[in-house]
Each structure stands twice: as C-alpha cells, then as structure tokens.
C-alpha cells in the first residue's frame, strides 16, 4: 500500500448535496483558502440527488409561510424532540438557498403570475415546491464547485477523521481504484456523507436495492463516533412507505398535490396526510396488520392528462427507473394502484431525526469537526436543509480556522488505521464481503425492525458486538471490494448504535420509528430529552440524556400531538 499525502485548509468529506454547498460557501467566504472535496464516487453523479430531485420539501417562502410556522410544524411532527434553533436555520435561510440555486440555473415551478407554485403535503403549511426539471441539479452544483475553484478528489473513500489535541486535523482513507493509503491534513473537517441507507436488508434480499443511494453506508455516523463526537436520536429510525420491491418513493409528495392518496386494498383512506412521519408510518403498519392491506398509492381516479404529467416528473427525476419497473410488470397508474410496503430501517436526519449532533452553526461536539446533510441531527431537513447546513458548515469552518495551523497526525494512529484497512486485502481467501454484509443486515432486520422488543434487541446487540469476529475474516481481492468491506465496518457501528439507543429510551415515541412493545406509551415526564451517545476515553459506547434546548417558538407538545389517522 503506497501512501499519498494531501493538505488543505477545509476538508469536505462527501460531495453530495451538503458537501458541494459547503465547499462553495467556504470558497465564497475566503477565495484564497484551500478547500478540498473528498468523494468516493464522482461528484457529477453522487449522493442522494445523483439523478436530480423532483421537488423541495421544506421551502419556507416569504408570503407563504414563516420560519416560525415551519419550526412549529416540525416540532409537532417530530414529537417535540429537536433543537429548534437548528430547525429555524432551515426555515430562515432556505429561501436564500433557493434564490442562489435559481441564479445558477436550477428551475423551480412557478404559477402563471411568476410566483413560486407551492403545494401542501405537510399536515398544515405549504412547504413543497416542485422542480419538474430538477434532473440536472448535480451537474449544476458540480459546475459551481469548479467555478469557485474548490478542489475535488474523486474515488477516494475516507475511513477515519484524524483528531489531535481534541480537534479534528484531517482524515485518512484510501483510493478505491489504486488502493493507495491517503492522508489528508486539514484545519477543519466537514462531514457530509449522507444517511446510513444500508442498515436493514431490503425485503428483496438485494443488498443495493435501498431507498438511499447505497454508497451512503453510515460512513459519517461511524467516523464522527470514532472521532469522539456525540450522536443523537439514533433510536429514531428512518422507515419509509415505499414502492414494494423497487423500494423507492412512489411518490406521494409529487402525486398527492395532483389528487393522489394512500389507500388500503379496499380503496379507502386511512391517513389524512401523506407527509412522512413516524406516526404516519405506525398507521401504515397497523393497516397492513389489520387485514385491510396491501396498501397502495391511488391515482386511478385522476384524469389521463394529470397522470401523464405525474409520469413525466416521476420517470425523469430522482429515481427515473421507476417507469421501467412498472412497465416490466405491465402496471399502469391509470388502471393500477402502486403497491406500497414498509421499508427496512436506516438512519437519516433528512427524513427522521437520527444523526451526528450539530448545533445551529453545524458544529459537532468536536472542535473543527462540522456535519451537514442527512447525517447531521437536524430533523426532517430534506434537501434544502442539507444545502442550508452545508452553507453554515462551510462559512463557519472558514471563521474557525482563522489563525490556526495544521497539526501533524500521530504516526502511530496512521499505522493502526493502515493495518485495519489492509486486513481484508491480506486475507483474499476469507469470507466474501457480500456474505458478511448480508448476514449483518439480516440480523438488523431480525432484531431491530420495529416494533421493538427489549429481549430481541439485547440478542441483536450481542450479535452486533460479536460481529467484529466476522469483520476480521472478511476478504477483499481488489481496492473496489475493499471499499465495500470498509463500508461493512460502518454498518456494524451503526447497528450497534441503533440497538443501544433503542434499548436506552424506555418509552415509545415517533410512531413506528421507536415503537416498543414493552413500553408502548410516550412518557414525556422521563423521556422529553435527547438520547445521545459517544465513545468515551476507554473506547466504550456510552449513552446519556441530553436536555432539549429551550424552545424559541412556543409549542405545547402535551396538547398538540401529531395524528393523521382517519378513524
């Protein structure tokens, strides 16, 4: 294994939605500073929006809604557990993000008068702004990264954040094509590696048939954890209502403003709102277990032109292969409902709330380490939230490094990591990574998929702790396979965190996301708090309660309870 050394002022790990914006904003804040994006794929087509996005889900546009209304909406849909100041940033800065994206050529839907054509998908306010022409979003961002002269290194995967004297001083990883060991020194590090989308095993059994881009394997959750940062709300899983087997969005956010809705097999509504929340997912779970399933996204009652318009959006954006999936089965929105199912579990703040703890400045609890996007703990943050926190991380990192020098990494730490990374390559006749990953994720399904049961989760936890033994016999025959092996390490860390956090919170909250059969009720007296976890000095995973920050927008969470059941 040869070693490559790199040096930059600001290191951005992950060049997706949050990462490209973080790099652009860091360069805008200080054009003379050096900014490097490290990306394990290619930023032109990487991350959650590799094939674009069909709409913005959290657009707070003046004249339509206010940041205060938005904070209120998210506070209620996330059962009160959030840092409102952080959510407020998405409400306050999202409009500037939309305007800046527009100046770069991104198109948002407008009405005949030229006003933003906002749609209601949330329970109360209008925050969904369609982008029927959003397919080229990632190429537009890539162009801006180049224009702003941020550097990009594609096909290098980070495996650990380097920490010295209590602050983040760079990262290590390897080139997924040459296998070179890579050391990057930086004055600040911004983690933007997306969700842990490869935690549970999809019902299809295909490891990569996930909702999230399967490259997003919880890299940042694991790297932040090993850097000593706090993570939060990990027990608040991501579980989505998805097209059965295809495992992608159907997508009610696009189709419901046109009149589509979620129905049971009899064609009846059982939820009044298609916005994804834990409580809505619990209603879906109950319906599927009531004998009235399967459930479907129903569009058959819409006129033909409307359906054609929905098809043109869904089949060109985000997950454009949806069209050929339906075609292959001879299904058509005009005559058939879209059969829906409950997804396997994942971790993702963009849709639920689990992530690396960040405040309203995108700072983690480790100085010099920032996080943004699906892996940072701002609930229901979606794409605009990723842009907003990328922007905050980029700008604040540039302020932070003022007057700071690079620190030399500890050679012993580098050697230990080099050995850890080399191990699967030195064991080419060991167990293939595909089998090691399959079994791990199957165990996640067996023991962690809600409803949660303490005895089951304890067995799961023992399995995940013991799984280090399986990681040790895992094999890779080339640098590409090594990438998948090191992702399995990330997935194992996330599985252990998910089990421990779920066992720690002895109540039920967030609907299906944390539904415990042994503690089926919400208990605000004891559990109106975050459950945070971190690695302590002796290398053990410790969990503790962290109080919810005082609200900046008044919400009486005892009285205002999220409920979209149709009874």
């Amino acid at each position: 294994m040869d070693t490559q050394w790199m040096k930059t002022d600001v290191l951005v790990i992950g060049g997706g939605t949050a990462g490209t914006m973080a790099a652009i904003k860091a360069k805008q804040a200080n054009p003379d500073g050096e900014v490097l994006i490290l990306e394990k794929a290619n930023i032109r087509r990487s991350g959650a929006i590799a094939m674009g996005m069909d709409g913005v889900n959290t657009a707070v546009i003046p004249g339509n809604s206010t940041p205060e209304q938005y904070v209120r909406e998210i506070t209620i849909s996330n059962d009160g557990i959030l840092n409102q100041k952080a959510v407020y940033q998405t409400g306050k800065l999202g409009f500037e993000v939309i305007q800046e994206l527009e100046s770069w050529g991104v198109k948002f839907q407008k009405d005949a008068q030229g006003n933003y054509d906002l749609k209601q998908v949330h329970r109360v306010g209008k925050y969904v702004l369609p982008m029927p022409e959003g397919k080229d979003l990632k190429q537009i961002l890539t162009r801006q990264v180049k224009r702003h002269k941020a550097k990009v290194t594609n096909r290098v995967m980070a495996t650990r954040v380097l920490v010295r004297n209590g602050r983040a001083i760079g990262a290590v990883g390897f080139d997924v094509r040459t296998g070179d060991f890579v050391v990057i020194q930086a004055k600040a590090v911004i983690l933007c590696t997306g969700a842990c989308g490869r935690l549970g095993l999809p019902a299809s059994g295909y490891l990569y048939g996930t909702y999230e881009n399967p490259t997003n394997a919880g890299d940042g959750y694991s790297m932040a954890y090993h850097a000593g940062a706090e993570l939060t709300n990990i027990e608040c899983f991501q579980i989505n209502p998805l097209m059965k087997d295809y495992n992608g969005p159907a997508c009610a956010y696009v189709a419901s403003p046109f009149g589509a809705y979620t129905a049971n097999a009899e064609g009846h509504r059982f939820i009044s709102c298609d916005y994804w929340s834990g409580q809505m997912m619990l209603e879906i779970w109950k319906e599927l277990n009531s004998g009235k399933g399967p459930i479907q996204l129903k569009m058959t009652h819409l006129d033909k032109d409307t359906i054609s318009e929905i098809e043109s959006i869904l089949w060109s954006n985000e997950r454009p292969s949806r069209g050929r999936f339906h075609e292959g089965r001879g299904e058509n929105y005009r005559t058939d409902g879209v059969e829906m199912n409950i997804s396997e579990i994942g971790l993702c703040s963009g849709h639920s709330a689990s992530g690396v703890w960040v405040n309203e400045k995108a700072e983690t609890t480790v100085p010099g380490l920032y996080a943004a996007g699906d892996m940072a703990s701002v609930p229901h943050n979606y794409m605009i939230g990723a842009f907003v926190f990328g922007r905050l991380a980029g700008t604040n990192a540039v302020d932070y490094i003022e007057g700071l020098d690079h620190l030399e990494p500890d050679p012993d730490v580098l050697e230990v990591e080099k050995q850890r990374i080399s191990a699967p390559l030195n064991n080419p006749n060991g167990v293939p990574h595909t089998q090691v990953e399959y079994k791990l994720r199957r165990l996640v399904n067996d023991y962690l998929q809600p409803p949660k049961v303490d005895h089951k989760m304890e067995i799961g936890l023992r399995n995940f702790v013991r799984y280090h033994e399986s990681l040790e016999i895992m094999s890779a025959r080339d640098p590409h396979e090594l990438m998948r092996c090191m992702e399995v390490h990330f997935i194992r860390d996330c599985a252990e965190m998910a089990a421990r956090a779920s066992l720690y919170r002895r109540e039920s909250r967030w609907g299906l996301y944390h539904y415990r059969l042994d503690y089926p009720e919400k208990n605000n007296e004891e559990w109106f708090c975050h459950v945070n976890l971190k690695k302590n000095e002796s290398g053990e995973m410790v969990l503790f309660k962290r109080p919810v920050e005082p609200y900046v927008v008044d919400v009486d969470i005892e009285r205002e309870v999220y409920d979209v059941a149709v009874r």
């Binding site: 794929a41 290619n42 032109r44 087509r45 990487s46 991350g47 590799a50 094939m51 096909r155 997924v176 094509r177 299809s204 059994g205 295909y206 490891l207 990569y208 048939g209 996930t210 881009n213 399967p214 490259t215 087997d245 295809y246 495992n247 997950r319 454009p320 292969s321 050929r324 999936f325 292959g328 089965r329 006749n429 060991g430 167990v431 293939p432 016999i473 094999s475 590409h480 396979e481 990438m483 998948r484």
Partner: protein, 75 residues
Amino acid sequence: MALTTQRVDVPVIVDESKCLEKCTACIEVCPLDVLVKNPETGKAYMKYDECWFCLPCEKECPTNAITVQIPFLLR
C-alpha cells in the same frame, strides 16, 4: 476457507457493437463504481453486482450502448 463462484444475472447490459474503446463515460459516473473495461476488448462491462439502477451510465453514454434493467430480484 473453501470458496466457489456463483453466477448472477446483472442489470447493466452493454451493447459491445456500440461501446467505444477510448470512452470511459459510464465508468466515471457510476456512483457504485461497478463498471470496468474488459482489457482484452476495450469494452465496458458490469464487473460487480452492486447496482442502484440509478441510470447515470445509461444517460451519459454517448452512443446509447447501455441498457439498465431492474435487478432480477426486484423486477
């Protein structure tokens, strides 16, 4: 460890008559990095069965040589 090779049906199909030997467009954009060139023929093929059926390879191929199917297990 005793090992065997298992055959799998892969989702990305390359029409070799259209694939350009000097072009690496599909290989560069694949998020999962599953495509490589066959060193003997210079044609691209799917080496690793790790596909998100996301379509950048198909969209960015200058000669429309690529067809992405939904993986068999999901189809």
